[in-house]
Structure formats: structure tokens, C-alpha cells
Symmetry: C2
Amino acid sequence: MEFSRMRSLRKTVLLAIVASVVLVVALLHSWPTRAYTTVDVRQRPGPIVERHLEERLPEPDQRSANIPYRLKESVAGLLARNGCVCEGESGGVNLPFAQLLFPRVSAHPLHTAFDASELEEMKRRRAKEYQSFQMRSQTPVDMLIVAEANNPLQYPTQGVEVRPLKTILIPGLALQDLPRELYTVNFTSTLGVFNVAAEVEGVKVKGDGEMHMTLMSSLLPNLNRQLQFVSYTNTLFHPSTADTVQFETEGHQAMFIIKIRHRVTPKLYNTGPKGEYNISALVTIATKTFLRYDKLQDLIDSVRRYYPTVTIVIADDSENPKTVSGPYIEHYIMPFGKGWFAGRNLAVSQVTTKYLLWVDDDFIFTANTKLEKLVDVLEKTTLDLVGGAVREATGYTATYRQTISIEQGEEEEGDCLHMRRAFHHIIQGFPNCVVTDGVINFFLARTDKVQQVGFDPRLARVAHLEFFIDGLGSLHVGSCDDVIVNHATKIKLPWVSQSESDKTYAKFRYPPASSDATHTKNGLLYFKNHFQCLTHN
Amino acid sequence: MEFSRMRSLRKTVLLAIVASVVLVVALLHSWPTRAYTTVDVRQRPGPIVERHLEERLPEPDQRSANIPYRLKESVAGLLARNGCVCEGESGGVNLPFAQLLFPRVSAHPLHTAFDASELEEMKRRRAKEYQSFQMRSQTPVDMLIVAEANNPLQYPTQGVEVRPLKTILIPGLALQDLPRELYTVNFTSTLGVFNVAAEVEGVKVKGDGEMHMTLMSSLLPNLNRQLQFVSYTNTLFHPSTADTVQFETEGHQAMFIIKIRHRVTPKLYNTGPKGEYNISALVTIATKTFLRYDKLQDLIDSVRRYYPTVTIVIADDSENPKTVSGPYIEHYIMPFGKGWFAGRNLAVSQVTTKYLLWVDDDFIFTANTKLEKLVDVLEKTTLDLVGGAVREATGYTATYRQTISIEQGEEEEGDCLHMRRAFHHIIQGFPNCVVTDGVINFFLARTDKVQQVGFDPRLARVAHLEFFIDGLGSLHVGSCDDVIVNHATKIKLPWVSQSESDKTYAKFRYPPASSDATHTKNGLLYFKNHFQCLTHN
């Protein structure tokens, strides 16, 4: 009896073991295996990318060396120079009010933000950070490619794009060659592989699934049909780059790039019900305050007269912060004296509406402060930011429009930044509005664009145009002179004694030189933005 | 006597008048006159831009209609479909722990964030905002251009760039035509004008200074020499756009674009003296806290054990905020319950160092929390952000790596968002690190990149991967498992009663449904990012 029970027990155990083994083997077999490839993302200098065109007129080759030409100075003079020179305008009429009527351009070398003792070290550090930045931001997309003349190859020169690690058909490929016995084309890439989505009769495919693929056929129509099925798959992941494809046939070659990147995801905002502009749903007012609670309260009261439910976000770095409260008021307390741009960055970081309106804490809303007009401009144009006008007690109204341009300098020295009181064009359909690059501190803007540019918290004290400099290329800026806010008086009336808070305010607002030179306006332009010179009028 | 005095007086007056007139005339003459042109920046649909390649296999034309081919399913199946379908994986083993061992993909339609009553209105508003976004972001740079075969024209297909309102020479232009009596080429553009920087003998130039220019010559070498001096000047201002140039000769044409944009200004940070990594100069620790001052203090104490002078930025939206102070501590008070991502956005908006380290307020630093290792990764690679690992009390350590991809859907419905627990590659030179798209809430990152992406303040409560979704395409993300921070226990020990603050924390941390549906996670994905579906495992 016992022996048979033991045998059946052993059998059961054996069966269980076998079953487990089979299960484990099945598990291991079905386990998704993936050989992870490595990727090299270390910073290294890439191929020399010709990002900026030579200003020098092209050297003639043998054939054209003897062909005479005459320079056209009016055009040649507009071409970029090989570096930038830090100089303003000299001479001019030297009368009183001359600077007011005929503002001359002055030039400011920026390395002067640093002591002579620290300048060398700063230059070295800046150069190291700049090279790192260049290595990270270079892309084959900016490389100069010239299409050969009389090339039998037809191919796409731009517009070919694939999502990272995905597959596309390459459009527009064809060969229009003279009659031959055998037609051959081949493809080479570095960040992905080629293949064919269909195999056409009479065409031999070699290297499908690899970085180098060849198609061969004695029948040209068949080869061209096959070329309509060529696919590209990105295999080396990068969120935003491009692969360079060499496309060749006997005696001729072509080069084009395939962009590898994600779809641009939109960042849309809820706008409230349709119909008239619902300012409370569309706009948040943002400001920064420091020791001027009375002026701040005047601002809030004036806003509420016209917009009782619009949210007001207040960043406050006063020493002994007071409570600022009320419906639709958001008050943020910062460490004492943290700073002007830090406060601006804080305030805009909290906005949840489609637009934000920047105001200084000593502005006063009036019946002329029609935010609906500014909203209308941004709703109907491609502008990202539109400034208004600020009216002083004297009646003088300013829009402070500035154009900003950057002239490339030698790499070791840095670029030249040029700012002028000017604008580019008047806006069609909005005769009171113009397109420019910088405006006064009273503006309505798309929240997502302002948050993307940001106010650099390293700027503790006076700063203004630095925001627009950082926004160059991202922000499309406009300015309208028919939406006006009042500026609470700054005139020191002799019979009004300066209050304690006014004195402290003045001490912080117009401070002595900072200890960290890269956190001053000029030090930051020098180090952060790689400028050598600032010219303005 | 009187008479002569009157005459000399009258003479003086006359002389004065004449002098004034002359002066005024001279003034008016020298006054810089500028006729301001208008620019049309109103939002309008542009030419149909083919941003996304058709997945359909190309229709054959007459000649190739009869050429047989055989579909290669393994490749054709990888091509994008015409829309995206919101479906997960079905079936699979339905055992306990199955989801743990074999995580199945589940699909979540996002419109469910809205009540049936408001969905139609939300769809309409989203469509309107999306069209606006498309009009603002389309650019000729993404247009598909195919180069003709056997074109006698030589021209640049990419890499030609001009600063707004500036002038360049167009490189790489030539004509290599068969012998003719007269060679003609012409240029057409829409945002600028053509000219010649030098006039070559034997070539007639017509339309110089205009948007359409023609060059004619009977001598081909002379025409080619002239083509080396062709200039383009941008005249219609836009901070970031491209002009489409048509370049033609008899019987052939070519099209290429000239990018019009500012130089990319770098945003460099001071790094401190060279040598070993100076963590205090390079890194700022950022966190958000809510009602957990004891845990926050534990975090601070643990940080100080290893990094006594690193700055810690704390965003705090507790109801009755307590003082959190100490050297190198920056404490920011927010309106009560303003929210999780608002707090994160606030904290990062205040960072002034090159890198920021995100930590949750209940982390504990240990000897394994070597920030130098993370700094080394970002200093030596092109990564923008690198996550570490978080160790629970049980010993379980998580890196929470996620890959994220977007599949284009039909415009009315929205796109599909796919997230998977996975990574792309191992990083060469850093065997403990991989490249991925999303990581755990313990990471070191380039401050400028994080500030540029931002944490959307509309997300008040639970949210995490939304930051990485917003960062898709901008952030190059990595994850290393050898830099570990501890997580203060979350296990509810039965003999420890839940404190009042713990109870309030739980109420806010795991809240009931919000009233504003677009501010919920799914509502925001639907509206803001234009998704219809989220799939994940």
C-alpha cells in the first residue's frame, strides 16, 4: 500500500516539476526580448556648420577670373562684416536739446562690467559654456546644401519629416537617366535604416533594413516604381534632430535631410463663452510690488472700477509684507529683496488664462485703458505681445518702442547688440498699432509665449529690455498708442517729504554696484547672451 | 537819423527772417524721412502646408500602372495610419499579478473629462483655438519641395539664412545650360527684394531692388559670374519666418527657401571656479510643500548633511504658512491651495544657477545621493534632464522611466498619446544611465530648458508626466539608477494615528472631481494639447 502511494506521490511531484519547467520555458520564450542598443549622446563638435554667410565677395575661379565687374557700393555695403565693431555715432550738432531732437547712437563695451582682475577668468568660462551650447544646438538642418545642375536624380529638398523611431515613405524620388544597360541608385544615412514597403518586379534590392541600400534594375520604369516605395525608419533616438541622406547614381549625387522630431503639441487655453470678449476669462493682470502698498492699492481700486472680476497676481518681496487681499487677488510673498525680474517671473508663472497683462504697481487704470482693444489685436493677428501707452502726470504719453538687432561678432569677443527707438511697420487693419521688438512695461501678451521666454531672475534691480532681448526670434511684438494707462506721479514735489518706504524703495531701486558682476545688466549681457557691445540712441 | 536807423533795423529783421527760413529749410531737409510701410500680420490660412506625409502608397501614373509589385507587410505596417484609434491590448493571461508581470496597455478616451452637456461647446472652442494656433505656427520651412531632375539650374536647397531686414549674398547659384544665343534667369520672392552686389560686364540686370529680378547675357561664363553677386534683402519684417524664392530659366524652375530670423542668443550660466564640481555654484534644489513642515524639515536637514551651502527654494501653499528659514533657504508663500504644478512653476521660476534639482518635500538625502554624478552626466552629454532613483522604506527602488509618443489623429478628434514603461537606449560611457522621455520626480536639469517648458499652473492636484508631455521635442531626457534618494515612508502604520495635517493633506492630494473640467489632467490633455486618447501600460 505504502509503496504505491509513494510511487503516485513521486509521480505527482515529477509531473509538477515537469509542468513548472514547461511553464517557465514558455514564460521565458514569450518574454519580450529586446537587445538595447547604446546611443552616444556625449557632447562633441559636429561637422563644420556654415550658419552664417561669408560677407566677402566670392573668389573667382579660373574661368571667371578675367571677367571684369564693377562693385555696387549701395548693396555691397549692406552685407555683414566679418566681426562687429563697438562704435556709436560721432559729431553732430552739439546744441542744448540736441540729444533730445537728434538722439545720437552711443556704444557701450560690456566687458567693463567686470574688474580687470576677474575678466580673463570670466572670458574663459564664457567660452567654455558657449562651446557647450553650440555643440548642443547645432543641427544638420542649418547646413548649406547646393543642388547639382543637370542631375538625373529627382529628390525632396525639404519637408521630409519622421517622428522619432517611426517610419515614413520618402516622397518625390525618381531617376531620369539616359538609356543604360543597368540603372543603380543607392541610399546612405546615419540615424536610421532604409527599406521598401513593396517589392517591384524586375528590381533587385540590396541592404534593405540597413543604413546603406542599393536598388538595381535594367528597366527604368520599374526602378522608378520601386523608388515610390522607399521607406526610412529612424533607429537612433533623439527628440529633435535630422538625418543626412546621400542619394546617388552613377556619376551623380544628391544630399537631403530628413527631420526627426515630435509633432509640435499645441498649448491651447479655454477662452470662455463666445460672443464679446470676456476679459475675466481671457486676461490675468500681473504685477510686482515692493514697499509701495499705497500705490498698489490705488492700482487695484482703479482696476476694479472697470474690471471687477479680473484676477490680479501680485509678487511681493517687501521686507515686512502686509496682507493684500480681496476677491480675485492672488498675493505671493517672496524672500526680502529677491528682485525685480525674479518677481516678474514669479507672477507670470502663476497665470492660467490665455493672456496676461503686465502692469507696474504704480499704474492707474482710466476710461482709456480698454483691455478689449488689446485683446482684439492679439485675437486677430499673429502678434504674441502688444504694448500700450503710459501717460505721465504732465500729459506726456510714451510707448517706448524699440527695435533690436544682433550683429555677429568674432567668437572670442562676442556679438554686438543694437537697440534703436523705432518701429518696423504700421499694422494693416490697426492704424494705431505698429510692429517693433520692445515696448513699454504695459502690455498684453500670450501667456504661453511669455512663460516660454521668461524674466531672468538673475536681474535683481533695474532691467527692462532684457526680456525683449531674450524674446528675440520667439516674440512677435506690437505696440498700440490708443490704449492708455496713467502713471502715478514720480515728480518729487518739494512740499511733500519723502516717506520712509519711499527712501527704502529708492535705495533698492537705484542701487550701488552689485557684488556678483554676472548678475548686473551689462555683466549678464556679456556672459549669458555672449555680447561684447551694446549700441543705442 | 531816424530813417536810417529804421532802415538798418528793417534790414536786420529781414536778415533774421531769411536766416531762420534757411535754417528751417535745412533742418527739414536733413530730418530723416521714412515712409513707413504697412505689414499684414492678421491671422489667415496660408498655402496648404504638407506637414505630415501620406501613409497611402502612391497612386501609380499611366506608365507604371501595369508594373506588378508585392507588398512587404513588415514595412508597410509601420507606416502611419490616416487617424489614430483609441484602443488598448485585449486578452492576455488573466491571473493574479498578471498586470504586474505582463502590464497590459489600456486606452482612455479623454473627452470623458467633460459632461455630455458641455462637450460640444468645448469641442467647438478647441477647434477654434487649434486653427488659430496652426495659422500662427505654419511656416514655409516645412513645405515639401522636390528638386526637378536634369535641371540646368544649380541652387542652394537649404542653409540660406538672413537676419530680419538685413542683406545677404545667395550662395551656390549657377546655370549650366546647353549653348544658346541668350541666357536668361529670373528670381521671384514675396518678403524681400533682389539686387546685385557687383555688375558684371556683358550682363543686363532688370528689376534690381525689386521682388522680381531678371539677368540676361549671351555669354554663359559672364552670367555665372553675375550669379555669384546676387543679393537678397528682407523688407517685410517678421521675427521668424521664411521667404520662398522661385528661380527660373527657360523651360526649368527651382524653388528654395531663405530663412528669415534672428541669431539664436545663448543663455549661459556662470559655473563657479574650474576644478571639481562646485555644487553650490551649479545647483539649486527646488521643491513644493503643503502642510508637511515636519517632512520638509527632515528633507532640509538631510540635504545639509552633505551640501551645507546649496540653495533650497521652497514654494508653499499651506493654509497657515509657518516660517521656514535658515542660510541658503528661500521660502515663497502662495495663496492657499493654489496648487501642485503652480508651486512647481513658481519654484523653478526663481532659480539662478545653471542646474536645478527637483525633489519632493518628503525625500531624504543619503550617502547615495551623489549630485556630482548627475552633474557629470549633464556636463558631458547633450541631455537636458537626468532622473535618479527613489528608494521606498521597503527597499524597492524606482526610476519610473516612460517613453512617450504622439500619433496624429483626425483634426476634429485630436491626436493619440502613447506612454509606455520603457527606455530607448543605454547611454555610451554611462552604463547606469538610459535615454527615455519621462522620469521620476527626482531629477537634475538645465534650468533654462525647464523654465522654457514650464509646469502648467492649471494642474492643481495630481499630475506628473504632463511636464514631460509639454517637454516633448524640447527636452532630451535621461535616467540613471545609481543616484538614489530615500522616500520618507508612506506606509500607514496602524498604531500611528493620522495627524490633522495628514488628513487635510490627503483631502487635497486625492481630491474629488474639480469644477473646471479643463483644469483636470484629462480635460487639459484634451483641450490644451489637442489629444483624444491616452494609452499606457
